[in-house]
Amino acid sequence: MKYLLRTILVLAVFLGMGFNCEGYLDEEPEYRSCKLTDFELHHMNNEGKQPVEATSDGIKKEAYILRIDLITDSLISNYNYSFYKLEDGIIKLDINTINTFNQDYPAGADIRSCFTNYPGTVEQYIGDYTQKGDTIDIMTGSKIYLALRTIPQAGLHSFKVTLTFASGKKIEKETTPIVLY
């Protein structure tokens, strides 16, 4: 009798585990819909341990990070229990240089390939994977940190950022000029 009870107990535990796993794996995250209303561009100085907002003194050109803040109609934080999803996702993020970047990139050139998603831990981080054909829509964060990996010539620089949405809509902004030395 006790063996029968033990067998039933073991079976019940395994079945319970199976149901739990199935339920967990099949569970779809509940997204809240939001709209991108604006974005902001920030020059970040990454000479230290963490990137900080640049001062008027400029930034060492090897330590420049462009931060793009996505502003939505919802308050998004890393601690939200459910993710927000853009109604109109971003399918392309272009960066063009206003001034001559270096001898390979004259004024007006597309320099998106000179930037890479910053792999360090930063608050509110969201990666830009549009270059791989992905869409930025699930708002796991709201700040895109793009580290400059191709060294520009020293001097005054500013960049134009263009966001293209799935609907075809485009919005663009220019950074304030910054000295990269």
């Binding site: 990454n46 230290g48 341990k49 060492k60 330590a63 990070i65 360090g120 990996r149």
Partner: protein, 246 residues
């Protein structure tokens, strides 16, 4: 652990077979005591704490001895010992030109380590007192760390991952061969022996480590090298126990 069990299973039948042919005595020892880690690992460039564990930890041990004659015999034993990583300074793992952005070091990770050995023993008896000396060979486990770091170069955007891997891939416990001489001082009362048991475990192989430096942007491996501590590890066991002789 698998190697230890195989080792014991390999030699146990020979001992038990000998027992059926002869009528000499068998002794089963049960010992508990402290394990003193005599190993001060020196890695050179990397941190010595990759292999260092707390100096004193408890252990229990079981030993089966079979005596072919009044003096000579063979034994097999199995030890379970607690081991906890010591939280030593690991700042020398990161060069001065870099910031440590985060690490996973599992400082207080602890586990039960197994080791088993087999060998020969010699007994000297005088009235109720006896001394048993032993020399064994076995396989024992060592606790290893596999820490990883994200480091950032000062003054620029360069970011790297450093991973220290025990072995070639990932290993929390390494199994290494050892020699263990030991001695037991026993007082016999009826069929029970009361023992003071001292053993020394000298590992005869080192745990090798792999250092892996990867570019955090491209995931490309920049540097991969192997290294090992300069000295072999060893433990001193001091225990008290009781034994049953048949």
């Amino acid at each position: 652990m698998r190697k230890i069990i195989i080792l014991i299973l390999f030699f146990l039948p020979a001992i038990l077979q000998a027992q059926t042919k002869r009528s000499e005595s068998m002794i089963i020892d049960m010992i508990a005591g402290i394990n003193v880690n005599l190993f001060e690992p020196k890695f050179g460039n990397a941190s010595d704490c990759l292999l260092s564990t707390k100096t004193i930890s408890p252990f229990i041990k079981g030993r089966f001895s079979y005596f072919f004659s009044s003096g000579w015999g063979a034994f097999v034993d199995l030890k379970l010992a607690s081991a906890t990583h010591s939280g030593r300074d690991y700042s020398n793992m990161i060069p001065n030109l870099y910031y440590n952005l985060g690490d996973d070091f599992k400082e207080n990770n602890s586990t039960i380590l197994h080791d088993g050995s087999i060998g020969g023993t010699y007994r000297i008896e005088k009235k109720n007192w006896s001394i048993r000396t032993r020399l064994g060979i076995g396989i024992g486990e060592m606790l290893a760390k596999n820490p990883n770091f994200t480091i950032k170069e000062k003054g620029n955007n360069n970011l790297y991952y450093i991973i220290y891997l025990a072995g070639d891939t990932y290993m929390e416990v390494d199994e290494l061969p050892f020699l263990n001489p030991g001695i037991s001082l026993s007082y016999k009362y009826d069929d029970i022996l009361f023992n003071v048991d001292i053993n020394y475990t000298q590992f005869i192989q080192k745990t090798s480590y792999t250092y892996l430096l990867t570019d955090a942007y491209t995931q490309k491996v920049i540097e991969k090298r192997k290294f090992a501590p300069k000295n072999l590890s060893g433990n001193l066991e001091i225990g008290l126990g009781i034994s049953f002789s048949f």
